[in-house]
Amino acid sequence: MNLANMTDYHHFPIYSVMVLFLGAFIIAACGSKPSKDPKNPAGFRAWIALCATALSLFFLGSLVKPVMLEGEIISYWMGSRAIAGGYAIGIAMEVDALSLFFALLIATAVFVSAIYSIRYMVHDECVPQYYVLYCMLAGGVLGLVLSGDIFNMFIMVEILTFAAVALTSFRTKVYGALEAAFKYLVVGCMGSTAILTGVIMLYAQYHTLNLAQLANLIPGTMNNATKLAFAFLYIGFSTKAFIVPFHPLAADAHGAAPASISVLISGVLTKSGIYGIIRLTYFLFQTMNLGSMQFMLVFIGSISMFVCVTMALAQHDFKRLLAYHSISQIGYVLAAVGLSTSLGISAGLYHAMNHTLFKGLLFLAAGAVLHETGTTDLGKLGGLSKKMPHTTVLFLIGAFSISGVPPFNGFASKWMIYQATYQKAVESNNIGFLLVTVIALVTSTLTLASFVKVSQSVFFGQMPKEYENVKEVPFGMRLAMGILACLCIVTGLFPKTVTGVLTEPAARAVANVGEYITAMGFKSNLPAPNVTFAQVGVWEPINWLLILCIALLALTIVAVAGKYDRVSERTEDDTVDTKYQLFYGGEKNVYSQVGGGDLFWGFKHNWRHYFDFMHNLHSGIVNDYALWAVVALALAIVYMMIVL
């Protein structure tokens, strides 16, 4: 094998997965002796992990041109064991635009999080092991989305679950970390078992494990066993995506894991679940043209987005709040993808991408707060913006993005989702989809509300005495956040370009199943559909920004001319001047921060029965969550049996 052959881009998918596992192996082989550098306890192992993730990102990035722009589908047989006798014998990797889209997301998130980890994990023990698990997790997720073989998907699911559980409980001293890990392990294990059962039942029917071949064989030959397998697989991937009713696990796991891992759990693991569901419904079973399947996905998506956003409003912990929000955003993705229109898929994938970016940013900001103050309790924090100005700005960018404030990326994708749902409602003349539009819009506002709560109770407001010595986080951590923040802004300002390069090829790939099958060497007679991405609305963020800038400039000139910035401020030496104290309606100047606990009383009061009910429902007992999983499985089986 010569060098030219090795640098052929067809090998890049396997390289990108391989470097990560190789990195994990090398780090593990290097032993666990901590380095002497207090700023980087893992020493060169951290650099190995960083290099591995960077290489992986590089390999995937160089695939953008052939796959995304030229529409090639890379099929890769391990050891060149191709099809024999019409059956796929070897283990395959198949990279179409959809896989590459998710892989790029994952690689980006993993790379940024690795940068962040170097400085973030300084206070922990056993950091070398952390990087082993980190690389394993990254490799697992990447392997899952690039795999062309359903059993390999299961293996990767197991690897990533295993690594994720271990990393969740990595900080064993953290309040509830072990508990969260155990709950995640139990329900995750049930999910994995469901996937395995589904895989094996498919194998029993069709005697193949290759995705493309299954996609070729299954449609039209559905029997009860296949339907059962579908239900099992669907529930299995649902546990990975943490959609309702598996959302409590996400909240526990995100809250307890180190922030760099929360980024992966929310930005990467949930995406792998969504990827699995898309592969399942659009490719393997091709059921998405059925109204009942659209209804199921849209319904669960809407429920997820609404239930989780209300749960988030009731949270007192920064990271738990973010965790519920990430499921809420996954709800958007699922609802959009479930519309089964090309605009819907494109919007959903766009939102999935944005979610990885802004939620990663937010988790990293939460991690920065945790790193400096040692807590993420909203009731204890306050006024950090004066000590951590950069983190505050970065957090605000993330918060604006997730709450859909123009011109950040969250708005662009949510706005596409509103249009997609409304268009679907008009096209299908079904008022139910209209309800989804309304729920999505209201959820967006509630999201904004809960981030207002966070910014008030963490970054603004009054600062407790004990945080007076808090410093800004190290540059390495700010760099990681800065990368994500830039991506948030760029993807928000150029929605047309982003959708054109990334999501529309992916959406086209979703619509064009026939090509996916034929690329692997099977015969398919599925016609190539005609895909358009027509939008009814108009939104030109660049023009808007231009006008806003002119307006701001004009105002600023007026303001500066009017000496707007000439303000009276307390100077360093006079510390007791009452002029610069806050006005307390006559009370003495005491610390009285309005915490996040019950900030939106006016809203919650009207919903108190709902909130009480939800609080009691999320009991924290692992048996209850397992019961939800079993009930969900049973319902899925019954539903599939009836409608398919």
Partner: protein, 116 residues
């Protein structure tokens, strides 16, 4: 007779679910997970099994058109699955130990700091 395998496999899976859902002891939960695993393993093996088939081992001269053997792929899958199951059990048992250290109990109803 082959149906009995399937019934048994699904019975084991359901039994595993039942154990996880109803037993409030962490160790029993882990046992439930293992039972669930065994059920799936049994299912895989049953699928690969052909009555009267031989072991899928290629030895020189034995391979003829008439001889047939059980499907080798499910057996390979079972191996993987068993390994994963063992890992999960080990992992969960170590978590149970640490949980018992920090909570002083094995009752799931008392291990619920994270809720709501």
């Amino acid at each position: 007779m082959i149906q009995f395998n399937y019934v048994c496999a699904f019975f084991l899976i359901v039994l595993g679910f039942y154990t996880i859902v109803t037993k409030y002891n962490l160790v029993k939960t882990v046992i439930g997970m293992s039972i669930m695993d065994y059920g799936v393993n049994l299912l895989i093996i049953s699928i690969g099994y052909t009555p009267g088939g031989t072991a899928p081992i290629f030895t020189k001269g034995e391979l003829t058109q008439a001889s047939y053997f059980v499907d080798p792929i499910p057996q390979a899958l079972t191996l993987t699955s068993i390994v994963i199951g063992a890992c999960v059990t080990a992992m969960s048992m170590s978590l149970v130990m640490r949980l018992h250290e920090s909570y002083g109990t094995l009752d799931t109803r008392e291990i619920r700091r994270l809720r709501g």
